[in-house]
């Protein structure tokens, strides 16, 4: 009988045993935080930090924001909870007092046959005046420029309509006079991520360069929404933000700024997409069309040279640049306005500052659908991009690209320098990663993403912001740097499990 007792004990022991691994990923110490402390992780930034994708913020996008992906990884090494100012739906867009806010449209999805991007035909439900209770670890607001993080007007609901406040920050601000940096620092982060400065050039770029390059003007109050931030102002602002975040000895990562030329919003539409037959090309070249312009600029520059307003050499160069010629081909270059050209309208009001585009000019993604359409119904001389030049807001000209690149280079130098000056701060070269994305792509876990619009998997349908999978790749790049520099062993995320463009 004694034996039966033993058998019973053994049987019970067996029933109680669940399969356990000798060395489980859930064992304490399996992964290491190294020298970093992830218990309070605060992420500061703009749309790229908010999980913005497909032209807006929506719940799915927030779930896949890069800091939310990171926080999930940090949970393996003592990371705490990570709160985000969640929106109300998967529709995207914002309403203020029940009315849709212009410029805050619903998300883009692929729909129709053939599939094409279109805004979701639904009414946004995220009400900005419904202020959320924080604090929020994800302290980011789409549209924020560097200096906005220090602005005490940025979370004041009364400034939403005038543009001094950001509705995304309004929703989450601790008070109407709170600053984004203040609300971040108040959480006493032990670890932070900072990715700011993109909009300091991007809002100029996505507007087609309608703003002003504020080089030399360090007053943020006189910067317009589509202007390029002065690099000196940027440097000082970034220094202040970084000082604030590291006040309590927090370690952190900072991301540099990708080039506009690695973003499909600026690269998807070619400069020469115009197909023409011989007859149409002949007509466009004739004296009844651009032939008159071509002859006119020859005369105008001959005059300017004769009065020594320009050298013959410079005149010759600009004549070549401005001479508009079409041919029987599938790849005629677009005609664009370029305000950097010599103004000849004083000589002849028909000689507007236009020329044909070159590969150095970037045609905006949003311009693509109107190319070749008629600006004036029934008027064959109003073919956009052909008989009617693209206007300033439809294209980033070479000189505008240069302004952007100069500012970007200056900002990135500041970011590198300021990060290098603090041993607790490491720089992640997202710029290089984005260049790789657009030149061959990034691969891991059985998936490859490229910078090709809509189908490449790297960029969401707005052509500027990454897909969930794109954010996952960025997260892994950041994790790799953290592991290297802080001697940590945080596991990466599986990029193959993240969605790309959403199909309705």
């Amino acid at each position: 009988m004694k034996n039966i007792k033993y058998i019973a004990i053994i049987a019970l022991g067996l029933i109680a045993c669940e399969p356990e691994l000798d060395n489980s990923v859930e064992d304490a110490g399996f992964y290491s935080a190294g020298t970093a402390d992830f218990s309070t992780f605060v992420s500061v930034g703009n749309s790229l930090t908010a999980g913005y994708a497909d032209g807006t913020v929506y719940l799915e996008g927030q779930k896949y924001s890069y800091p939310n992906i990171l926080a999930d990884r940090f949970s393996h090494v003592g990371g705490g909870t990570f709160t985000q100012p969640l929106v109300s739906d998967n529709i995207g867009g914002l309403i203020l007092s029940g009315n849709p806010i212009p410029g805050f449209d619903t998300r883009l999805v692929l729909t129709g046959d053939p599939l094409a991007p279109a805004n979701l035909d639904e009414i946004p439900t995220t009400e900005v005046s419904n202020i959320l209770t924080g604090p929020f670890n994800n302290m980011s607001a789409p549209g924020a420029k560097s200096f906005h993080l220090l602005s005490d007007a940025y979370g004041n609901i009364s400034g939403v309509e005038t543009g001094t406040a950001n509705p995304y920050f309004v929703r989450m601000a601790s008070s109407s006079s709170a600053t984004m940096l203040g609300d971040a620092v108040a959480q006493n982060p032990t670890f932070f991520s900072l990715w700011i400065g993109n909009n300091d050039i991007l809002s100029f770029a996505t507007s087609g360069g309608v703003g002003v390059d504020q080089l030399g003007n360090t007053n943020p109050l006189t910067h317009g929404p589509n202007d390029i931030t002065d690099p000196t102002l940027f440097h000082g602002t970034y220094d202040a933000i970084l000082s604030g975040l590291t006040t309590n000895g927090a370690k952190g990562v900072v991301m540099n700024l990708p080039s506009v030329t690695s973003i499909p919003f600026f690269t998807y539409v070619d400069h020469n997409p115009v197909p023409l037959d011989a007859a149409t090309a002949g007509f466009l070249n004739s004296a009844n069309a651009y032939g008159a312009y071509n002859a006119g600029i020859q005369g105008a520059f001959a005059y300017l040279v004769s009065v020594s307003a320009i050298t013959q050499a410079d005149a010759d160069l600009e004549i070549i640049k401005r001479t508009i010629i079409f041919s029987e081909s599938a790849n005629n270059a677009l005609v664009i306005m370029d305000e950097s050209l010599t103004d000849l309208t004083g000589i002849n009001s028909d000689l507007v500052s236009m020329r044909q585009a070159t590969p150095a000019d970037l045609i905006l993604l949003t311009t693509g659908p109107v190319i070749g359409t008629l600006a004036i119904e029934g008027d064959p001389t109003s073919v956009i991009g052909v008989s009617l030049p693209l206007n300033d807001s439809q294209v980033l000209t070479e000189s505008e690209v240069t302004m952007i690149t100069n500012a970007q280079t200056a900002y990135n130098n500041s970011i590198s320098m300021l990060a290098a000056a603090n041993e607790d701060v490491i720089l992640v070269d997202v710029k290089a990663a984005m260049e790789q994305l657009s030149n061959g792509g990034l691969s891991s876990n059985g998936v490859t993403i490229t910078g090709v619009y809509a189908t490449g998997g790297g960029f969401s349908l707005d052509g500027v912001h990454p897909t969930a999978r794109g954010y996952a790749f960025i997260s892994n790049i950041i994790l790799k740097r953290i592991n290297e520099e802080f001697n940590a062993t945080i596991p990466e995320t599986n990029t193959g499990n993240y969605p790309t463009a959403y199909i309705d």
């Binding site: 669940e18 998967n90 596991p491």
Partner: protein, 415 residues
């Protein structure tokens, strides 16, 4: 006596019941307790399954056995690269068996068996890391086997029976690792069919060359469970998707492979019976799980590439007293799953089964039988390398560890 007990305990501490793939070797409480040996054991109506020839040698005009076990199985999956840890949440499996034999005359016996030799019930958390391979699967098959046995001499009998199989399948998986609708719900498919029927057969030979020694042989044919026009239900499909992923039907074949068993039993020291079985299962039949959908998915081929597998079974019976018979056993079960084909739908590596049990004789006619199985799996690093996305193999790797226990109870009745 003390020695014997430690022997019994040693075996008990050891372990189980599964036999690779989706074969569930729990076809009788008495024989399971002896390591699921039985091709050469003459003990009860359980022989209808283990060796139809041996019912010729059963005592009594009629014999009945019925039993049921509860399988409590769980698998742990971990992946160190991504920090994933998952456990299955499998529902209780309940293999059962009902056997009856009838001795018409000295040389002719009949039998009937109803049992559940195949089944699988694996349930991972929905949308888990391997959900593109399986979210959950439930396979069930009930075999009905009318049997006839002829006693050719006191030393030789032959027997056999037809097998009628009736099965069902329910299998859900996500269509890919990342396809979702606009709200982020994963696109998935459930294939389901009930009342799948198929036929097979079993034959056996029993030889008693000398007193106390029995030698048995049993062959069980392959049974192909063929589904035609089963239900395929697609969920969370983006409506603008150019491909037609509408609900429809599917065709598929799941083989239940042929098995050969040879073995012997030997009585010694009056009260002891030793049994040994060698099983060979022709699992190489299972090359791929090929599912043909009626919509644009068309033919989905999921390579399995199983190999033939062997199982070595050892059992011991000790007649402790008139009322109580103790049994124990051990078996070494080779998994048919090969490296690189380790799919989480049947996460089976090699295992060692430890069994024990007893019969309590209520009276000359009725006994109560109990068994216990513990199936021990070593931790294994393996992967399924043949899932494809965009024409590229995307391995699903990790460390697995399974554990299975199955307590069971039954009765034997003799007239």
């Amino acid at each position: 006596m003390k020695k014997l007990l430690s022997f019994v305990l040693f075996f008990l501490a050891g372990s189980t019941l599964y036999a690779g793939g989706y074969r569930v070797s729990i076809q009788g409480q008495r024989q399971l307790a002896m390591g699921h040996t039985g091709v050469a054991v003459i003990s009860s109506a359980e022989s209808v399954f283990f060796n139809p020839a041996s019912i010729s040698f059963l005592d009594g005009k009629m014999n009945f056995s019925l039993g049921v076990s509860g399988i409590i199985g769980e698998t742990r999956y971990e992946n160190k690269t991504y920090g994933i840890a998952e456990n299955t949440n499998n529902p209780l499996g309940t293999p059962f068996n009902v056997y009856a034999t009838y001795k018409a005359n000295d040389w002719l016996s009949f039998g009937l068996g109803i049992y559940t030799p195949y089944g699988s019930s694996v349930e991972w958390e929905k949308d888990w890391a391997g959900s593109h391979l399986v979210n959950n699967i439930e396979l069930k098959a009930i075999f009905v086997q009318p049997t006839i046995a002829l006693k050719i001499s006191d030393k030789l009998s032959i027997g056999g029976g037809a097998i009628y199989a009736n099965g069902s399948v329910n299998f859900n998986k996500n269509l890919s690792r990342s396809l979702v609708d606009i709200d982020g719900n994963r696109t998935n498919v459930t294939i389901e069919e009930k009342g799948i029927t198929a036929w097979g057969y079993t034959i056996g030979v029993m030889i008693k060359p000398i007193e106390k020694l029995n030698i048995g042989f049993n062959y069980r044919s392959k049974v192909d469970m063929v589904v035609e026009g089963g239900e395929a239900d697609f969920e969370n499909v983006p409506s603008s998707l150019p491909n037609d992923l509408s609900d429809g039907t599917f065709n598929a074949t799941l083989p239940m492979p042929a098995e050969i068993t040879v073995g012997l039993s030997y009585e010694f020291c009056e009260k002891f019976l030793f049994a040994f079985d060698y099983n060979f299962a022709k699992w190489s039949e299972y090359e791929a799980l090929t599912v043909e959908f009626s919509n644009d998915i068309g033919i989905s081929t999921n390579p399995r590439n199983y190999k033939d597998s062997e199982t070595f079974r050892f059992g011991l019976q000790y007649k402790a007293c008139d009322k109580i018979t103790l049994r124990t056993g051990i078996y070494f079960d080779e998994s048919p799953v090969q490296d690189g084909y380790f799919a989480p739908e049947t996460p089976r590596n090699d295992s060692v089964g430890y069994t024990g049990g007893l019969s309590y004789k209520v009276n000359d006619k009725l006994s109560i039988d109990a068994s216990f199985l513990y199936l021990h799996f070593e931790e294994i690093d393996n992967s399924y390398d043949h899932y494809q996305e965009g024409g590229q193999n995307v391995p699903f790797e990790g460390t697995y560890k399974s554990s299975v226990i199955a307590p069971g109870i039954g009765i034997s009745y003799k007239l």
